[in-house]
């Protein structure tokens, strides 16, 4: 695909958005224009680019996606079953549009704020706008630029200093409509010495072919804690290309868990900046593609200050002709002495036709660091299988038990009980296990 056709792709989509006159604060328009121009220069990534050599996005580039029509999808099924935590505050979007009747927002008396991007109050507008502009101005990620150029709707959450919000905040996007594209945005700004739980959920009606392009901006202030859950259960024909940027202050702790079950083609670009002494990031992911699903995680950890700590554990269970990619980049700046970074990616292939690519990428400029990584791709342990079978457990159940144990290392580590139970249920469903 030529550059000019990339230009026309983004022009076409931007024009469609402008003619629809999306509501939204004025600050978005210059941001969209700048991101549009930057994407026009770069275009869609191709397989010739190192970071994209395993992930072919030409199907996204060659499709003229559409905005959902007004009211489209309003008759979608009740979505209660998709909620990760019934107790959570939640914002539900259907086909990219806010659904007030399906949502449950905190009352006006709360001193933290949850607002829609299209209807921001002045109080939270300034920090959100600044953060979004900064991200749009520096990211090199093409799908972050597309989101910045085309985002109409999203959620902006701000947690003030010294506040623990123990009720999870859940954002659920559900798509029911062929050919739809949505570019939802999340901005989550946690002040100092505070605590919050964020759940991002993406799901869609199976069989529908659509394009979800979310971007999240996360700031965790000094001494604060944020647990961030990403639950991706898109239609098996959907394209999901996401971007997340998280910036951690001094002694901030950010924990992230990503579950990927759905999607025809999925790519997550995650950048975490450990930008304060003692900042900690723990990232984990579980992906279980089957059929011809393709799931790609690219993580970048930037250790920018001394005594920063990161842990990554991503695991994949691949069936049929599925393909997974994990690329974990760890950058340690010259100033970031005593960095402690560990990264692991483990893949279990349940089929001879499945393929897992795993690549670490270390760029270390400090001399006093501990940095380790490991990537494995293998099959079920035959010794373990025989051991279980020799006790009377049938071959199929023995395999399920072994796979479940493999995945359990990730699901068992999920802090929030309802999310952990949901993840376990989803894993069981994929493994066809009844118990």
């Amino acid at each position: 695909m030529s550059e000019s056709s990339h230009g026309s792709w983004i022009d076409l989509h931007r024009e469609a958005m402008r003619s629809a006159r999306p509501a939204g604060p004025d600050f978005l328009e210059p941001l969209r224009a700048a991101a549009h121009a930057r994407f026009r220069e770069r275009g869609f990534p191709t397989l010739r680019q190192e970071r994209w050599r395993f992930t072919d996005v030409s199907a996204v580039a060659e499709t003229a996606w559409r905005r959902a029509a007004e009211g489209e999808g309003e008759t979608a099924l009740p979505l209660e079953d998709l909620h990760a935590d019934p107790a959570a505050y939640r914002l539900v979007f259907v086909n990219g549009r806010f659904s007030a009747s399906r949502s449950r927002l905190p009352g006006a008396e709360t001193s933290f704020s949850v607002q829609r991007l299209s209807a921001l109050n002045d109080g939270v507008l300034e920090p959100a706008a600044r953060r979004m502009a900064e991200t749009a101005g520096r990211t090199e990620e093409p799908f972050a630029l597309i989101n910045s150029a085309l985002a109409e709707e999203g959620v902006v959450i701000t947690i003030p200093d010294h506040m623990a919000v123990l009720v999870p905040l859940e954002i659920l996007h559900y798509v029911d409509g062929d050919g739809i594209a949505l570019h939802p945005r999340v901005v989550m700004i946690v002040g100092e010495q505070s605590e919050a739980l964020l759940i991002e959920s993406y799901a869609g009606k199976n069989g529908q072919r659509y394009f979800t392009n979310p971007a999240a901006d996360v700031v965790v202030g000094r001494g604060s804690k944020l647990d961030h859950y990403l639950l991706q259960r898109e239609s098996a024909s959907a394209y999901h290309l996401s971007y997340t940027r998280a910036t951690l202050g001094r002694e901030a702790r950010y924990r992230r868990f990503a579950l990927d079950m759905g999607g025809r083609l999925v790519r997550h670009d995650l950048e975490v900046e450990l930008d304060g002494e003692g900042a900690e990031a723990s990232l984990s992911g579980l992906y279980m593609p089957a059929g011809r699903q393709h799931i790609d995680h690219h993580t970048t950890l930037r250790h920018l200050q001394p005594h920063t700590f990161s842990r990554q554990l991503y695991k994949g269970v691949l069936q049929d002709k599925a393909h997974s990619v994990f690329n974990g980049r760890i950058y340690v700046a010259r100033e970031a002495q005593r960095t402690d970074a560990i990264q692991h990616n483990r893949n279990l292939l349940l089929s001879d036709d499945a393929l897992a690519d795993s690549q670490p990428q270390l760029e270390i400029f400090a001399d006093d660091v501990r940095c380790t990584h490991g990537g494995t791709v293998g099959q079920l342990d035959q010794e373990g299988l025989f051991y279980l079978r020799s006790r009377g457990i049938g071959a199929d159940l023995a395999r399920q038990i072994m796979v479940h144990a493999f995945a359990g290392e990730i699901t068992g580590g999920i802090g929030l009980a309802p999310v952990r139970e949901l993840a376990e249920a989803v894993v069981n469903e994929r493994l066809g296990r009844e118990e």
Partner: protein
């Protein structure tokens, strides 16, 4: 119960068992002794159904059936149990869940109802006492981080829970100190009955002081070269395997060492 006739087994094109004949009746304890590499463990593994062995000839009848035709889990459900020489660690699989699942598979096969979690716990606690194991082991992953002795006791615990008719103990004494050996042997002895049979594979006579066998067989270079009662074990203890290696009561076979 178990009838092995002229069993020949190979691995990677090499013949390991060269014609085994062995008959085990209900209630009997047979010890199979022999130097390293003689094929003792291969025999135990083949009987339990491990893949990767080629059956070159002969047959194995168990309770009137062709044992070699059965999958490992079918053998277990029919009452065959192998206590592993090297019990496998399976991270992430809870020991209690594993034991209950296995027991219920076996029970369903026998036409018995499944045990609830409560019923199972009651049962397993009596069995834990048998092998002097801490109930805390039930909540740990299978064999993960267990000491050598704990792993062997866990094998006997599983045997006690599953109540096999034919138990194969593969070098269960290896790596055990005397206390652990006493506990393990005690567990085995309490499961002895007129119906249950044991085949005890061991390199040393030591275990047989605690589990007294009815018959002792010496396996050498893939064949049973001598059989006798428990006094044969004592004789081997006194004289070692050199005499057997010398001619073994059969045409002399040159030992090729190792394996």
């Amino acid at each position: 119960m178990l009838e092995i006739k002229e069993l020949r087994v190979g691995v990677d094109g090499r013949e390991i068992l060269k014609g085994i004949n062995l008959s085990v009746r209900p209630g009997e304890v047979h010890a199979i002794m022999g130097p390293n590499g003689s094929g003792k463990s291969t025999l135990a593994q083949v009987l339990a159904g491990r893949h990767g062995y080629e059956i070159l000839g002969g047959e194995v009848r168990y309770a009137g059936r062709d044992l070699l035709e059965l999958e490992p889990e079918e053998r277990a459900r029919e009452g065959v149990f192998l206590a592993f020489q090297y019990p496998v660690e399976i991270p992430g699989v809870n020991t209690a869940y594993f034991l209950r699942t296995a027991l219920n598979e076996v029970r369903v096969h026998r036409g018995q109802p499944r045990l609830s979690a409560g019923e199972f716990l009651k049962l397993v606690h009596t069995k834990l006492k048998l092998v002097e194991m801490d109930p805390a082991f039930l909540n740990r992953s299978i064999n993960e981080g267990f000491s050598g002795g704990e792993k062997k006791r866990n094998e006997i615990l599983q045997m006690a829970v599953l109540e096999p008719r034919l138990a194969l103990l593969d070098e269960t004494d290896s790596g055990l100190d005397i206390d652990a050996l006493r506990i393990v042997a005690g567990g085995v002895n309490r499961l002895r009955s007129a119906e249950n049979s044991f085949v005890v594979v061991t390199h040393y006579q030591r275990l047989l002081e605690y589990i007294v066998p009815d018959f002792v067989h010496v396996l050498y270079d893939g064949r049973i070269v001598r059989s006798g009662d428990k006094s044969l074990a004592l004789e081997l203890e006194a004289n070692g395997y050199d005499e057997i290696k010398g001619n073994g009561g059969r045409p002399a076979v040159k030992a090729e060492g190792g394996a």
